[in-house]
Amino acid sequence: MPSATSTKEIELIIEHTGGGSGGGSLPPAGGNGGGDGGGGGKKPGKGQPSSKRYFTGMAVGIVSILMFFMALASAFLVRKGASGDWGPVRIPTLLWINTAVLLISSGTLELARRRLAKEDGAGFKTYWLLTTALGIGFLIGQVVAWRQLARQGIYLATNSASSFFYIFTGAHAVHLIGGIVALFYVARRNFSEANVTRSVAAEVTSYYWHFLDALWLFLLALLYLGK
């Protein structure tokens, strides 16, 4: 669900930017359109004409990250189909719990953004930090899952299936660390001097976070169905 809203919003932004060049004739499209109350703090018009670039940049960046994982996924499928030496990796049960943790974190992120829209700073902080904590929890869970596999004697170098398992989970973890840094940044930064509002920063970060969430579901399905 969260990923669906975010893509819809990204499409909105792209649509808007594609046609809009009349010197800010339209207010920036954004979270308001999605009906989830996010992005309420964005001022339309002259105050912050430059915040749109962060949405566009994030949309473009997401496409490029997606392409990175698609390349690996196609390599995975080709390699799997091409060889008889495929020794599938049994997915540790812990991964399902991690998945739940990550999904919940997307929910708390949206709750935090709702609080921010209602100008409830304390509520925002609570949910935002909860999201961060859940994100870190997911990462710790992933590390534990890797160690479980290692104890079963399944390493990166064991066979190509395990190589792909580690590179998918590892690359996703690296991107998630970036997301956690962004979460900290939005929580800690003093936005009074910045040229974006906290809600814009929170909204852009939320797209990234929901994207990683959806990406994880895709990777898990790939690893589970393609084992």
Binding site: M67, F68, A71, S160
Partner: protein, 563 residues
């Protein structure tokens, strides 16, 4: 419009220290020029390398500097070829037209003060430099270590390319001046924009491939390694060339599109220069933009035709052959537009225009042999290294270099405030133009000669001796062409040092926004006023050839200027 762009506030003043002025400046013009210097250094080294390689191939017994003892170390020769290719493809053909000219000119041409993410731009430049350092040092290391360093450097370059492409895309979408609608964008901007989108997609793929390959080499993972894989294969599949198929697939996915990454901005330059010096609007401008999009889309899809030799699904080659041949369609549109613009025009044959026309000539000559290579059956029958080398050097290497030189002669006043010497420039053009044809055309013949097993023994002997003399001819032509570049280097540095032909703001009577500011373009580009755009990018009035309508002048301002 006080906070028109945040980047504008972060300019270091002229009094700032060397570090903040040069190393940490996030200003787009500074960064663009730094990319240009990086490319200039790389192209000179790469060119000397190519001459040394040719000399070694022709006269293996002669002692050649840097190549001493190479008979005992064939891997050194391979490393040298790799260095030549990496320098030319990554740091000249990718860096100069897109990151160099693009960073300098894109914000000026769309009326923005800065790129969308100046800090990211700076980071991307330093990553490019780091990658250049890595690839160069890989040459001096042992082959095994050297390859690791090379692959790591390629990954860093991919990241740099991705950041840069992110910047270009966002800047073009978000920071256009009021009135700069999509149809009014100069074709150069279109080319950079489409190119950035294409780069966004393909550099991710190469990055994924590099990560996996590096992990194979360093951590012993099993993405591309083939021992276990081969043991399970039927014997007929295990033949030379079929081993690293997966790596090839990922690599060529990138590399085939990379050709278009180098070419797209050059198409933009050529269109721009041809229109400006023909004093006519671009013929069928919308079709040109569509053709550029077409090159991007098809270029993205044709990676597979490099896989013909490697045992794919039998239908795949056909599909890719159709796709590859269909690149001829947008290319033909572009060609038609250039010729249509040139038709009946009063040409101003400046050096810049000569290079643009030279580009068209080389592009057609090189592109035609590409059609043979796109046919998978023909390619298998006739392909040999020399033919392929001749083809892609002509169409990608040399043609793109001509477009870059044309653009450099054109925008030099905007970059440095003075003009390159036209007489020297024209001499340089003709020497280079003759030289490159003399190098690469015979290479096509050489490629065909190697099919000599089809002939009888006697003919084969005759062909072999003909081949040897052609090779020598090619090498002599290479030395000639490389020496001719000395003229350019002399011209370049003399103009920079003397700066005696100081230019008016708009020496070529061009229409786009960058010519509305001073020469060289001032630090704060458009000053305190935000530019506005009133018309399309190529409003030349052909009747008298002198009249033109700059994009930043409204109809009233234009009538005032004329009286």
């Amino acid at each position: 419009m006080v906070s028109y762009d945040d980047g504008a506030n972060s300019h270091p003043s002229a009094e700032a220290g060397f570090l903040s002025r040069v190393l940490f400046s996030t200003h787009h013009k500074t960064i663009g020029l730094q990319y240009m210097w990086l490319a200039l250094g790389s192209v000179l080294v790469g060119m000397v390398l190519s001459a040394l390689l040719r000399m070694h191939a022709s006269w293996p017994d002669t002692a050649i500097p840097f190549l001493a003892g190479i008979e005992n170390a064939p891997e050194k020769y391979a490393a040298m070829r790799l260095l030549h290719g990496s320098l030319m493809v990554f740091f000249v053909l990718t860096a100069a037209p897109q990151m160099g000219f693009g960073n300098f000119l894109l914000p000026l041409q769309i009326g923005a003060r800065e790129m969308a993410f100046p800090g990211l731009n700076r980071l991307s430049f330093w990553m490019t430099s780091a990658s250049l350092g890595g690839m160069t040092s890989a040459f001096f290391l042992q082959p095994d270590q050297g390859l690791n360093v090379w692959v790591a450097s390629a990954s860093v370059f991919c990241l740099a390319g991705l950041f840069s492409a992110l910047n270009f895309t966002t800047t073009t979408i978000e920071l256009r001046a009021p009135g700069m609608t999509l149809p009014r964008m100069p074709v150069t901007v279109w080319a950079w924009f489409i190119n950035a989108i294409l780069s966004m997609l393909i550099f991710s793929v190469l990055l994924a491939g590099c990560c996996a390959l590096l992990s194979d080499r360093l951590l012993g993972s099993d993405f591309f390694s083939t021992t276990a894989f081969l043991a399970k294969q039927p014997q007929n599949l295990v033949r030379e060339g079929s081993l690293p198929i997966l790596w090839q697939r990922l690599f060529w996915y990138f590399a085939q599109a990379e050709v278009y990454v180098a070419m797209l901005p050059c198409f933009g330059f050529t269109t721009h220069l041809v229109a400006t010096f023909s004093r006519k609007p671009v013929w069928k401008e919308r079709l040109v933009v569509l053709a550029l999009c077409g090159v991007g889309v098809v270029g993205f899809c044709v990676w597979g035709y490099h896989m013909f030799a490697t045992g794919m699904n039998p239908y795949a080659p056909l599909v890719f052959a159709v796709l590859a041949s269909s690149l001829g369609v947008p290319a033909a549109f572009l060609l038609a537009s250039w010729l249509g613009t040139l038709w009946n025009a009063r040409l101003r044959l400046t050096t810049s225009m000569l290079f643009a026309i030279g580009f068209i000539s080389l592009f057609v000559a090189g592109g035609l042999s590409g059609l043979f290579l796109a046919r998978h059956d023909l390619a298998r029958a006739s392909v040999s290294e020399d033919f392929v080398i001749g083809h892609f050097h002509l169409v990608m290497g040399v043609a793109a270099t001509f477009a870059i030189l044309g653009a450099l002669f054109f925008w030099f006043p905007k970059m440095f405030g003075c003009r390159l010497n036209e007489t020297l420039g024209k001499l340089h053009f003709w020497m280079t133009f003759a030289g490159v044809y003399a190098i690469f055309m015979p290479m096509h013949w050489l490629g065909l000669l190697t099919q000599s097993h089809l002939f009888a023994e006697q003919q084969r002997v005759a062909l072999a001796s003909a081949g040897a003399s052609i090779r020598t001819f090619v090498t002599v032509a290479t030395i000639w062409t490389v020496s001719a570049q000395g003229l350019f280097v002399f011209n370049f540095f003399r103009s920079l040092l003397e700066r005696n032909n100081v230019e008016p703001d708009n020496p070529w009577a061009a229409t786009t926004l960058e010519w509305s500011v001073g020469s060289p373009a001032p630090e704060d580009s458009f000053g305190s006023t935000a530019p506005e755009v009133y018309r399309g990018a190529y409003e030349f009035l052909a009747e008298d050839g002198n009249d033109f309508a700059p994009q930043h002048l409204s109809a009233e301002q234009l009538t005032q200027e004329r009286h």
